[in-house]
Amino acid sequence: MRKIWLIVKREYLTRVRTKGFVLSTVGLPLFSVGIFALSVGLATHKADHPLKISILDNLGGLASQIASSLNEKLPDGRPRYEVVGSWDRPASEQVAYQDLTRQVRDGQLDAFLEVPKDILSGKKATLHSLNGSDYLADRSIAHAVNNAVIVRRLSDRGVHIDDVSELMNGVDLTLVKVTRSGESEENGQSELVQLSIVMILYITLLVYGVMTMRSVLEEKTSRIVEILASSVKPSYLLTGKILGVAGVALTQYLIWACTAGLISAYGAAISSAVLPGATPPKIHLPIAYLVYPLVFFLAGYFLYASIYAALGSMASSDEDLQQVQMPVTLILVACFIVFPVIQRSPNSPLAVALTLFPLSSPILMVMRITVQTPPFWQIALSLALCILATLGMIQLSARIYRVGILMYGKRPSLVELLRWLRYT
């Protein structure tokens, strides 16, 4: 046991001290914080100053109605639209049009809205501006024009103006996700969260699996494995190595989880400090989103690491490694690629099968939990199957490993591999 501990310690310390580890550990949270800040910035950026617009109302009586509908505010609290110098049924449409066009060209106005005389019968309003396409501005102005026209049509049919505004009272669509514990408001991020969790699982399983494999090959090519084997049982060596790399992965996870927790708790404060007045997107991370990935990562890591370690012991060079690892890496990639199956129909037979099968369950079960939490027995069964498969795989790997580390040269064929398993 003491010897396993020594191996774990060496493996852990030499890896945690590398530049690569520090970079990836610090880099990923920095990167995601950067993305977060950027998305907050973009979401609140819309326009940094109020848009000065004017309304040329050739019909008459609509300008004030439209202006009152343009009541959006900027993040900093100023009104988004400033309606100035409107023309209500001008004496000469021509003169008013030319005057407003000149003002836009000179920069005194950002835009002017031209309401045609026969707008009630379906003619379209026109927005004249220098840059032509500000999607968000277009949308709210169109909305305001629409509103005003409908109000006018209704009141023309004898509906009282106050009733009209009541009738027109905004109905908005809020997305609500039904979860086991109740309802929680959906703000379009859960898909992002799902994707990031699956990404992180996929990347870490791959990175740490491959790290274990490389570590085995490194000891083989540097020939130190012969000295190690003269001091420790190969199965201890293998166990120590897998645990040591697991420690590295857990350290990284812990740092990331703390960062995620901090962003979740203080994200609002941070973003308002950076961009005063902004309303940041709320990030809601249920604790299950942290616990399940961790549990399944560990189960998946031990499974894949023991496979990768066995592969590493079969190889004698980097080229060998590329070839022997290919099938396993492809399985991991496939798990990542099929995630839309789970996302679209998390309870289909295929989804259930994929989330129970040990090689795919570590990634896909977590995916499924975040989409729609399956019955607990399925989660437990999936985990149990994965652990069983891992225990079996570690036995097999240890048998391959103890022969493989002493073999140099040609990669073993499948037949040779089966013989290795039978060696005493």
Partner: protein
């Protein structure tokens, strides 16, 4: 007590029999030479003694116990293929390896420091293995084999890659360790080293022992059938096919293996007749080199 008792051991890989019905007995405190051509099964044998491999048949005992993870702590190993963790510091690697052999890390630290001093590597202890020269890496590797004071030291080609100064230093340390009671197994192709250092040998070929026992007794059994001659002048005096079975030229010296019952005086006479000036004429036991070649080619024939 015997340090090592290998009894009727057989080890197969797939269809190849690496070691076949091999028995070895090594006295405690001896320097034992394990010899044989490439691929004879030496490394497999050593690995079984160190419990890296288990024999398919037969038993291996180390200091009276069956080879196991417990006996592993009693052995120190310098493998022929050298290697340490290239990106770790010299001191860290050595402390790690010593701790794996059962020393506490504190004790390992102290011993590693002593050895680094003794071999003149103290200034390099915080350098990475990669930064050391080949010779220094060899010495570091040697420290890894001896730092835990193993009663059994297994050295595979310990002198390759060392300059004469370093080789002498390592040789002196080996003899010093033997003096202190260590048993040493030396596996090498350098026969002159074996003749200088070993008390007993075992020559294996195709996984079988073809010659084993006390080195002096073995050489004596061949008798003084070889003449070493140093001379200046015409070398035709050595054209004596009736007397001389084989000639080995070493530049300044010639070794002539005599036919059975040949009288070495005849060679001396021929030299005098031809007017060759002799500076050396010595009747000796055959060199181990010749015995090796004879035994190995016998098996091939």
């Amino acid at each position: 007590m015997e340090a090592i008792a290998v009894e009727h051991v057989t080890k197969r890989y797939d269809t190849v029999v690496a070691v076949s019905d091999l028995s070895l007995h090594i006295e405690k405190g001896a320097v034992f030479g394990l010899l044989g051509p490439n691929g004879a099964g030496k490394t497999t044998t050593l690995r079984m003694i160190m419990n890296i491999l288990a024999p398919d048949e037969g038993t291996v005992q180390v200091f009276g116990q069956p080879a196991s993870s417990r006996t592993q702590d009693l052995t120190g190993y310098l493998p022929e293929e050298r290697g340490l963790y290239n990106r770790m510091k010299v001191r860290e690697v050595l402390v790690f390896l010593a701790a794996l052999k059962g020393l506490s890390e504190a004790e390992a630290s102290v011993r590693v420091h002593e050895w680094l001093e003794r071999l003149g590597l103290a200034a390099w202890s915080e350098k990475k293995i990669n930064d050391l020269s080949k010779g220094m890496q060899q010495k570091a590797q040697f420290i890894a084999a001896v730092v835990h004071r193993p009663p059994l030291l297994i050295l595979d080609e310990p002198f390759t890659g060392l300059d004469p100064v370093n080789a002498t230093q390592i040789k002196d340390i080996m003899l010093d360790l033997r003096e202190k009671g260590a048993t040493i197994i030396l596996s090498t192709h350098r026969m002159e080293q074996v003749e200088m250092m070993c008390d007993a040998i075992c020559l294996i070929n195709h996984g079988r022992s073809v010659l084993a026992g006390d080195l002096r007794a073995i050489k004596k059994s061949y008798g003084k059938n070889t003449v070493r001659i140093e001379y200046t002048g015409d070398d035709h005096f050595l054209d004596l096919p009736d007397l001389i079975e084989k000639l080995n030229h070493f530049g300044a010296m010639v070794e002539a293996k005599l036919r059975p019952n040949a009288d070495p005086q005849e060679i001396l006479k021929a030299a005098v007749e031809r007017g060759v000036r002799l500076s050396r004429f010595e009747l000796v036991e055959p060199p181990l080199h010749d015995i090796f070649i004879e035994k190995v080619s016998e098996a091939h024939a």
